[in-house]
Amino acid sequence: MAIQAHLPLKPVTYLTLLILAQEPTYGVVLLDKLEARSGGTIQLNAGSLYRTIAALVDAGLLTPSEDSAPSGGVGAPRKTYSVTDLGREVLRAEVERQSALLDLARELDLQETR
């Protein structure tokens, strides 16, 4: 699928890709970081979190990898999710799209008028 077909990214998807591009991690940590980085505006339940993850995996933007043991060595092994090369390209394209929009906003000097 062409990169443009994924754009624009929904806020949850965008933030998920950004967080995982920084460092691959597993569900619980991702949930925590989503909430922290969005300033509390994104609060997901397990269902919506994994529906987002499943959609990104199906689209080839994320890839799961089996972690050998959870932290502390207790419990079942966990999957960590990392951004694929395609995912990075899509993320880059989204950042460019947003920065172009930001430039436009700056040209209009919206901050002054506020």
Binding site: Y26, V28, L31, N45, A46, G47, Y50, R51, I53, A54
Partner: protein, 879 residues
């Protein structure tokens, strides 16, 4: 970390497998993590609930995505081969046009018949009556179960007593249909008037279109000339004048004041153009034994018709103590709508039942046709399966053909249905049977009930789907064993379908046979009047004239009419037979000294000297009333056979003496006995009737009976009217009618049912024959090789034919026998429709067997003949 609550675990499991399977375990972990962070106490409960609600919402959203994706993929897949299949469908139908046309015609006919008959049922029995509180508006009848008079009218004084004493009815009103004379261009025109007591609109609570309705004010004589006009009359005759209220109309030469216009949708009993009040005086001054009035009431919300029946009967019993002669009389209260549709109910339901049978026969027929079609395409399906067509594809190709043909058939059926409905409305004279909703029935003519039409199409589609499903499934199953031929096995299933079809058709044929025989018996019944070449008119409006002037006027009128060319004789009777109106007298039976020994309420008629011979009454004993029988002492009377049998069982009626409540008719000697006249149609037994000379006290308006020499009596009607107006242009000559048409109206309903059910039976015979033809034809086709071989080996064509005919015999025998048993059982429920034949009439049963066997024989004969003409060498090559 704590354990996961069962509710959360369940909600996670409710997610679709595409989410649940790869991520379920992690979802549980994340949820547990979230729940662990929830604080204790009420604030925590809220957060806890929010997490669970989020999971539930997520499950719904996930499933929605999955289903939407599935549908879109399915639709893509379905449309992919659609164009190809449609092309294939049209090619395959072009190759077998007979099959396509048969299916379409069968379904179109079934849908048309069902939609129109059920629209008719909807419009008559099930439609909401055109007045408010329809579940509380009742009719109260004078009823005498011991002498078979269940629903009779009531006298004015009895009405007043019932009205004043009832507590179960909020209002009770009297109603009487009459005529008044409106003078236009110097000539009189009779117009229908519904006379109602002032309580009428308290019982039937409609709102006036203009002005006001009758209320308590119309009880007093000074308001007796107030009238209401119908919306139609106001529009057509009064030019829709908005200032009509307060204007006057001269009825019977007396100015009447229009006080209101009735609403446009109001049709009640006889839809009369003018409504006039019955003042209290008019009600109480009438003879208690002269019964005239229909009683219409409004039940209290907490009362039932049964409670009102009990109460009004108790009041009638009290009246009987005061006024002898009402012994045995009760009151029957029933809902007006139920009473109105009562006479058509068995007819309408019989038609509906017949239509359901036809629909079933048609659907079974379609199932047979589809099955044969599938079996005929056996090889094609096998080849398709071998070439890799999936089960779904095969079902789709066969199913699409069935659905397309069904839809085309249903569409044609719906197009035809309105004209069929119009025919049915024409066929069944509803103005006789449902006067209450005459307007609704007329409206019915114009449109098919959309709910009924929709339901019919859905039922036909579902029916054909359910019935074709076995054929489709068996075709699909054959993919598992593409090499195996299922023709023999398949045709056995088809045989059962045909047996069912034959059985259902036999039920209808038997029912039609019973109705035909019943109607024939009815039409052959002697009504006691020679109704051919007989004309009747309502004449006279001389109520206020002195009796000698009345007698003179009627005598001159008869003389003038008798002198007309083309008239054989004429005479006068106060209530002509077949118009549905009767009159009653209190009859005192006298002993040899002239003292009354007992008295009873009986029907009576006032006649002149010429009417008995004009009507063609048959004298059994004695002589008729003659012109010389002027009233005086001693005067004479004639009785009918029923009267003589009831009151003089020893056969001593002639010479016996009777008196009546009417002072003009005292001490009458019975001088003749005439044969009974069935004045309510051939199916209703005659009541005892006393005939007296009218000269004593003529009725102000009477029936003039005119016997014409040959030809249509109606052709002479204008000349007779002119003659009456020549004598006195201010007198009415209204409602001319041929007596044969009046008699015909009484048998119109049974005739109509006979026509309708016979038509349906014929259609079902055709369908059943088609089924037999299809099945036998297919059996012959699939055994072509065998037939050819037998012919080649020396079998005679006759032998082949008889083998095929004999092979079908058990199937036909079984179907017809089952139908006969079912039909004889069902006929017991339709007993009320039969006249002169029992439900297990052997002639009808034998007729049904003969008709069905002949139809089956013909349907078998054609393919059998084809089989016997097979060219052996051709037949061998076909395999």
């Amino acid at each position: 970390m704590t354990g996961l609550p069962r509710s959360a675990s369940l909600l996670i499991r409710l997610h679709p497998p595409s989410i649940r399977e790869p991520y379920g375990r992690e979802m549980e972990e994340v949820t547990r993590f979230q729940l662990d962070r929830v604080p204790k106490g009420p604030a925590g409960w809220w957060a806890h609930g929010r997490i669970l609600a989020g999971l539930a919402g997520s499950a719904v959203a996930a499933w929605t995505t999955v289903i939407a994706a599935g549908l879109s993929t399915g639709a893509d897949r379905w449309t992919a081969g659609l164009g190809l299949d449609l092309r294939f469908l049209s090619r395959s139908l072009r190759r077998s046009p007979g099959y396509a046309v048969t299916v379409v015609v069968v379904l179109a006919a079934a849908v048309a018949v069902t939609a129109s008959v059920f629209s008719f049922v909807q419009g008559t029995l099930l439609a909401e009556p055109p007045y408010p509180n329809s579940d509380r508006v009742v009719v109260a009848w004078g009823s005498n179960p011991t002498n078979g008079q269940l629903r009779d009218v009531v006298s004015g004084p009895n009405f007043v007593d019932l009205r004043d004493r009832t507590t179960t009815l909020e209002a009770l009103a009297a109603l009487h249909g009459d005529d008044r004379v409106l003078i236009e261009d110097g000539r009189q025109r009779a117009i229908g008037v519904n006379e109602v007591s002032s309580e009428f609109f308290s019982a039937v609570r409609i709102q006036p279109f203009l002005g006001r309705l009758f209320d308590g004010r119309e009880r007093s004589p000074q308001n007796g000339t107030n009238i209401l006009v119908s919306h139609g009359f106001w529009q057509t005759e009064l030019a829709g004048d908005p200032g009509v209220v307060g204007s006057t109309l001269a009825l019977n030469g007396i100015p009447h004041t229009v006080i209101g216009v009735l609403p446009p949708d109001f049709q009640f009993l006889a839809p009369a153009p003018v409504w006039a009040p019955l003042t209290e005086e008019a009600l109480t001054s009438r003879e208690r034994y002269n019964i005239h009035f229909h009683l219409i009431g409004l039940l209290r919300p907490d009362a039932t018709p049964e409670a009102a029946t009990r109460e009004l009967t108790a009041i009638t019993e009290d009246i009987a103590v005061e006024y002898p002669g009402f012994e045995g009389w009760t009151v029957l209260v029933e809902r007006l709508h139920a009473a109105s549709v009562m006479s058509v109910r068995p007819i309408v339901w019989t038609s509906a039942a017949a239509v359901i049978l036809v629909l079933l026969v048609a659907l079974v027929n379609l199932a047979t046709l589809f099955r044969i079609r599938t079996l005929q395409r056996d090889e094609e399906i096998t080849v398709r399966a071998a070439l890799g067509s999936g089960r779904r594809r095969i079902v789709r190709i066969l199913g699409m053909e069935a659905v397309t043909l069904s839809l085309v058939g249903a569409a044609i059926g719906l197009l035809v249905a309105p004209s069929l409905l119009s025919r049915i409305v024409d066929l069944i004279p509803l103005w006789i049977t449902i006067p209450e909703s005459a307007a609704q029935v007329q409206a019915l003519r114009a449109r098919l009930d959309p709910r009924v039409a929709g339901t019919t199409v859905v039922l036909a589609a579902l029916g054909s789907l359910v019935l074709t499903a076995p054929a489709l499934l068996s075709a699909a199953r054959r993919r598992a064993a593409p090499g195996r031929s299922s023709r023999i096995h398949g045709s056995r299933g088809t045989n059962w379908l045909v047996a069912v079809e034959l059985a259902l058709a036999t039920v209808l044929v038997l029912g039609a046979g019973l109705l035909v025989r019943s109607a024939d018996r009815m039409l052959a019944t002697d009504v006691g009047v020679d109704d051919q070449g007989l004309l009747t008119l309502w004449v006279g409006n001389v109520w206020e004239w002195p009796i000698p002037d009345q007698v003179l006027y009627f005598q001159q009128l008869v003389d003038r009419v008798e002198a007309m060319p083309g008239v054989e004789s004429a005479g006068i009777i106060d209530y002509p037979p077949f118009l549905g109106e009767d009159d009653y007298a209190r009859v005192y039976f006298l002993d040899s000294t002239g003292d009354p020994v007992r008295d009873l309420r009986e029907e009576w008629r006032r006649v002149d000297g010429g009417v008995m011979s004009t009507l063609g009454f048959r004298m059994l004993q004695g002589r008729p009333i003659g012109d010389g029988d002027l009233v005086g002492t001693p005067s004479v009377a004639v009785v009918n056979e029923s009267f003589a049998r009831k009151h003089y069982p020893a056969g001593d009626a002639l010479g016996s003496r009777v008196s009546t409540h009417n002072g003009a008719y005292r001490d009458l000697e019975i001088v003749g006995i005439i044969a009974d006249v069935r004045s309510h149609g051939p199916q209703t037994p005659a009541q005892p009737i006393l005939y007296v000379p009218q000269q004593g006290d003529p009725r102000g308006t009477v029936g003039l009976m005119v016997r014409v020499r040959g030809g249509d009596p109606m052709a002479l009607a204008p000349a007779v009217q002119d003659e009456i107006w020549t004598l006195d242009p201010t007198q009415p000559a209204a409602y001319p009618a041929a007596v044969s048409d009046l008699v015909g109206q009484w048998v119109a309903v049974p005739r109509a049912v006979r026509t309708l059910v016979s038509g349906l039976a014929l259609f079902s015979i055709l369908l059943a024959a088609l089924g037999v033809f299809g099945v036998v034809g297919f059996a012959v086709q699939s055994r072509t090789t065998e037939m050819g071989l037998r012919l080649a080996l020396g079998a005679s064509p006759g032998r082949l034919r008889s083998d095929i005919l004999m092979g079908t015999a058990p199937l036909v025998g079984l179907g017809v026998l089952a139908g006969l048993i079912l039909g004889l059982g069902a006929a017991r429920f339709a007993r009320s429709l039969l006249y002169g034949v029992g439900p297990s009439d052997p002639v009808a049963a034998a007729g049904a067997i003969a008709i069905m066997a002949t139809a089956a024989l013909l349907a078998t004969w054609l393919p059998a003949r084809r089989a016997s003409r097979i060219d052996p060498s051709e037949a061998m090559r076909t395999e």
